[in-house]
């Protein structure tokens, strides 16, 4: 009796083990790394995909920063990368040298950046910043909130502008948010000399770590103003300024204004930068983030699953999440081209890694 029982349990165990391994064999682990700005959206996307569409696909995304993400793509330690700045310079050369083809960079969504401020008595959207003014603030030419130039642009709140010093708050960590912001500032401000990059040499201000650090510093310092991702400004319920765009109109952030700003002809390598959108109602500070892929993958199954997941993010369910998190979805025409590029990726068992 006892032997029978143990034999039975042994069989059960073996069967259990076998089913477990076969289930494990089906699970596809995909790893990605890169931009922190893209992290909330990518993680939400792949989590939803795993739960509602294909439970065998597990995508892990490490938000280590765009630069570190690109390095990992070059080193071949991840299946995809994400970045808010396209491949360029030494990294692009390293990638070409190692893989002997151009990196495949596909835009997945856009984001926008707002000026968030802390001015006692002045509510969200009440402050208007014209280009000359915010250029003056970031370069340090305008140092007081009761400056005549700010008052002149804000007749309705001119008497409420406090006699405070302007405290400019910027990111101290390297970030794609800073790249998008400085790319705009470089284009718009004639007196800006620090250029554009994921971290720049700021002429004035104090640096804080991450969107959350910038938000905390602004909230605590009356007279502070800084730049944060739109989704973050909304999450933290921060007061944000209305800005003058290239057409000379004063615009408030809205998803529509940002979407139309990004609706520009996308070049062949998808490296679309819109430092200063031209439409009359466009929101002025917008940028994309890209997913960096290889053109050859060694494993057919992994490639299929990755492509399926990425296509899903651009479908109706994926775009619903994009909008929910206040990112800007890609326009339909771009999506068709993205799908064509995804379909063109090939399987090569000897692909370089």
């Amino acid at each position: 009796m006892r032997t029978l029982l143990s034999a039975f349990s042994l069989t059960a165990l073996t069967v259990g083990f076998l089913t477990a391994t076969s289930a494990q064999a089906q699970t596809v682990q995909i790893s990605g790394a890169g931009a922190t700005f893209a992290a909330p959206l990518l993680q939400r996307w792949f989590d939803a995909y795993n739960r509602t569409v294909d439970p065998t696909v597990q995508v892990s995304y490490q938000s280590v920063g765009s630069g570190a993400g690109l390095e990992q793509v070059i080193n071949g330690t991840v299946d995809f990368g994400a970045s808010e700045a396209p491949f360029s310079g030494a990294r692009l050369e390293s990638f070409r040298a190692k893989y002997r083809y151009e990196p495949l960079q596909l835009p997945m969504a856009g984001g926008s950046i707002e000026f968030a401020y802390n001015l006692p008595g002045i509510e969200d959207g009440e402050l208007i910043l014209k280009r000359k003014t915010y250029c003056g603030i970031v370069t340090g030419e305008i140092t007081r909130w009761d400056d005549i130039r700010i008052k002149a642009e804000n007749p309705r709140i001119a008497n409420k502008l406090p006699p405070l010093d302007i405290t400019w708050v910027h990111r101290s960590d390297g970030s794609g948010t800073t790249f998008v912001f400085t790319n705009h500032i470089r284009t718009v401000c004639p007196n800006w000399t620090a250029g554009a990059g994921t971290s720049v040499e700021w002429p004035v201000g104090i640096g804080a770590q991450g969107n959350e650090g910038v938000a905390a510093t602004i909230k605590q310092e009356p007279g502070a103003i800084g730049y944060v991702n739109q989704s973050y400004a909304k999450l933290e319920k921060m007061a944000t300024a209305r800005l003058e765009n290239k057409a000379g109109n004063i615009v408030e952030f809205s998803t529509e204004a940002a979407t139309s700003a990004l609706d520009a002809p996308i070049p062949d390598n998808f490296a679309l930068l819109v430092p200063d959108p031209e439409g009359p109602n466009d929101y002025p500070i917008v940028g994309l983030f890209w997913v960096m892929l290889y053109r050859e993958y060694p494993d057919q199954q992994k490639l299929t699953k990755l492509v399926e997941a990425l296509k899903w993010t651009q479908g109706p369910e994926g775009q619903a999440i994009t909008k929910e998190l206040d990112y800007i979805p890609m326009p339909e025409a771009a999506i068709q081209r993205i799908f064509a590029e995804l379909d063109a990726i090939t399987v090569n068992p000897n692909a370089v890694r």
Binding site: G89, A90, G174, S199, E201, I206
Partner: protein, 327 residues
């Protein structure tokens, strides 16, 4: 033959004899093995240190070739044009650590004296000792958040008042203080490193022979005199080494510096203005750094290691001096 052998008492039992030898050789093997093991472990620690230094220097080589020693005296950090120098960060690291010591030394030594000299009953000193250990266990990111959300709002009005009245002193001058500054970093660092001073100083006092204190008291010295002329001089080498350890810790602390310094790439003589430290710079820029920038950050890391090494050498010299004094 056998009878002669028996003449010496009980015959030697060959079995026991072998056993003893075996045991002796076994325990000797264990001894030798243990010595070799500890040697290997010690060597391993040394090898890891050398390995880290070599790897960091290798990664920094690009920047070392490009910027040379000019890196140490350049006050620019421009990733766009790839111009790098760490003078403001060296200044920030040294100043925050030294000012942290100014906060931590009186706090640390005072607490250690209070805890060891029988000023209070055990039920008072024990919880305090426990609380001090908890400070050590607090993650620095938590202390950084505490700095942002509690300390900065609390001290800002005080800083502003000091700045208005004593602004003529260069260290306290500049425009009205905002939130993050080198002084805030130094204050939090002071809190972080004081437990090191407390615990080492405390055990130094505890390990001093009782006869020293009793002798002084027997000679008619007051408690003050005993403390200042006998206890503190006798424990000086321990106190100094605790301070140097704390200084090393302050130089290397990263999270607090990155969160509270304001990360401004400028040299402000005034402590109430934002600045930055080497550790804060490395931590905040590493993720998004370009190739040469990574190399420059590694170079900054090498600079910090050399700086810490110099501090340790100076500490060693000072401690030896004091030890000679004691003898």
């Amino acid at each position: 033959m056998t009878s002669a052998a028996t003449g010496y008492g009980s015959p030697p039992n060959p079995d026991i004899d072998v056993d003893i030898e075996k045991k002796a050789s076994l325990s000797r093997a264990v001894d030798v093995g243990f010595v070799r093991l500890t040697l290997a472990l010690a060597g391993f620690a040394g090898i890891i240190l050398i390995w880290v230094i070599l790897q960091t220097t290798e990664a920094a080589l690009l920047a070392i070739q490009q910027f040379g020693l000019g890196f140490l005296v350049t006050a620019r950090w421009n990733p766009v044009e790839n111009i790098y120098g760490v003078l403001p960060q060296i200044y920030g690291s040294l100043v925050t650590s030294l000012v942290a010591l100014i906060f931590a030394i009186p706090l640390g030594i005072g607490t250690a004296i209070f805890l060891t000299e029988g000023f209070a009953p055990k039920w008072v000193t024990e919880p305090i000792g426990f609380a001090i250990e908890l400070i050590v266990a607090t993650p620095s990111v938590v202390l950084g958040l505490w700095g942002i959300f509690v300390l900065i709002p609390a001290v800002r009005p005080i800083f502003r008042a000091i700045n208005q009245t004593l602004g003529w002193i260069p260290f306290l001058g500049g425009p009205a203080p905002r939130g993050p500054s080198l002084l805030i970093v130094a204050m939090v660092l002071g809190i972080m490193i004081s437990p090191i001073i407390i615990s080492i100083t405390r055990s130094t006092f505890e390990s001093l022979p009782r006869s020293l204190k009793e002798g002084a008291l027997a000679l008619g010295a007051t408690r003050w005199e005993t403390l200042l002329t006998v206890m503190i001089p006798a424990g000086l080498s321990g106190i100094v080494s605790s301070i140097m350890l704390a200084l090393g810790r302050a130089l290397g602390e990263t999270m607090v510096a990155a969160m509270l310094s304001g990360n401004a790439n400028r040299i402000n003589i005034s402590l109430m203005q934002p600045g930055s430290t080497i550790t804060g710079l490395i931590a905040s820029q590493f993720g998004e750094a370009g190739r040469l920038q990574v190399s420059a950050l590694m170079y900054a890391g090498v600079v910090l290691m050399v700086l810490t090494l110099l501090v340790n050498i100076v500490a060693e010299i000072i401690i030896r001096k004091f030890q000679n004094l004691e003898q």
